[in-house]
Amino acid sequence: MIRRWRARNHAEREFERQALAYVEGLYNFAMALTRDRTEAEDLVQETYLRAFRGAAQKLPTGDVKAWLFTIMRNIWINDRRRKRRQPETEELDADEEDGGIGRRPLADDRHRPDVLHEQQALGQAIRQAIESLPDIYREVIVLRFLEGFSYNQIATIIGCPAGTVMSRLSRARTELRKRLNHYRESAASPSLEAGGRATSGRIRGVGEAYE
């Protein structure tokens, strides 16, 4: 029995270590979902609290990272459903399969200590472009390109078929290119046309990304 307890204790510590390693990814996903630092911090904390409570009953097997991201998204969805009852809440744009207008990006937070790459114009342009996407595009862009989840994992996290993930990602890419070009042009930077032709020069601050 002692041996079993020790093994269980070791497995719990290993699970905690694994789970805590994803705090950066989870915080970034929370920012993508909420676009608000305080809400994102609350969402991360609530996610870990639920995860650790669940693990105390039964340690999760399999993909811990996808499990954590699924918990986070479910909390966020439930929170938004609750807030929708309040008249001042924005409507979910979950049905904007055509891309829609999206939202304005967060205010310029150049001096915020929690923003990386703020000195790099391109990094800021990418962040602003992603922030301005409609919710359904923003989350798949972050899950695929920043967190490296597969289509099947993304389908599990957002609760829809892999085919929907595929089409949503394709439209999200197109929309992101358009918006990134907008932010880059406003900073007098090269275009990122889908045909592979840059209008001029190189993108400053990044290596050989585009020519």
Partner: protein, 276 residues
Amino acid sequence: MSEHVVHLIELYLDEELQGEERQQFEAHIAVCAECRARLENERRFTALLAQARPLYDVPESIRRRVEQLGSRVSRRRVWPWAVGAAVVALVALAIRIYVPDATHRLLAERMPPGSEFARLAADTHQRWVRGQLPLEIRSQSPEEISAWFADKVPFNLKLPSFRELPDQPKPYQLEGARLVGFKNDYAAYITYRMRNRPISLLVTSETVARPSGGEEIRSQGLVFHFEEINGWKVLTWSDRGLTYALVSDFEERGQASCMVCHPSASEQRKLEDLRR
């Protein structure tokens, strides 16, 4: 270029093309310059996005908070009483036989004072005073703060309102609140300021923590535990299902800080037992 080819390029880059489909695509790319150029362009775009990671730095406060939660993963597996009791007895016996008296005294001196809850309250107060603890809600309204806690803590917390008299200025100011992780759940942390000095109140359910240690003082049917932790005066007590810790640097046992919940003169007189 057809949409279908663009789609295949995206699937290929996302590692979603497998088997024969993948082989056919790679064979096509080898002979089609236009598709190859588009593939490279898409690859660079994907790499650009990946380089942007992370978009946001994780605030130190949230790292600390989740690490605290992690260290409190509930070990709810309950040893059978017989086994647990036997182990405790064996350990106690071993210490008694093999550890000299002098070591007992040394161990006793080195044990941190007071209950874990009191220590958490003192530590949280210290972090607040040092500006290391951001509040999650800033408000001078007890009603607003009570409502904020409503769906966040597993107990009913209602902060008292100070009834101001026309010629009597409010002696203290409510500043705000936040959640603090404790024992795999949340405790409520509320901060006040009185005479420009900070006061902290930490609240949790009585089932999670009960005051212990320090100097016991009985007053008005309650048992207060007083101790000084890192220079702070900490009063802990339980009442009607909740356990409280009040932290300040006020004189004697810090009973002046009790005004945040017991403002009237008559109530203050009831706290005489807490005076040294």
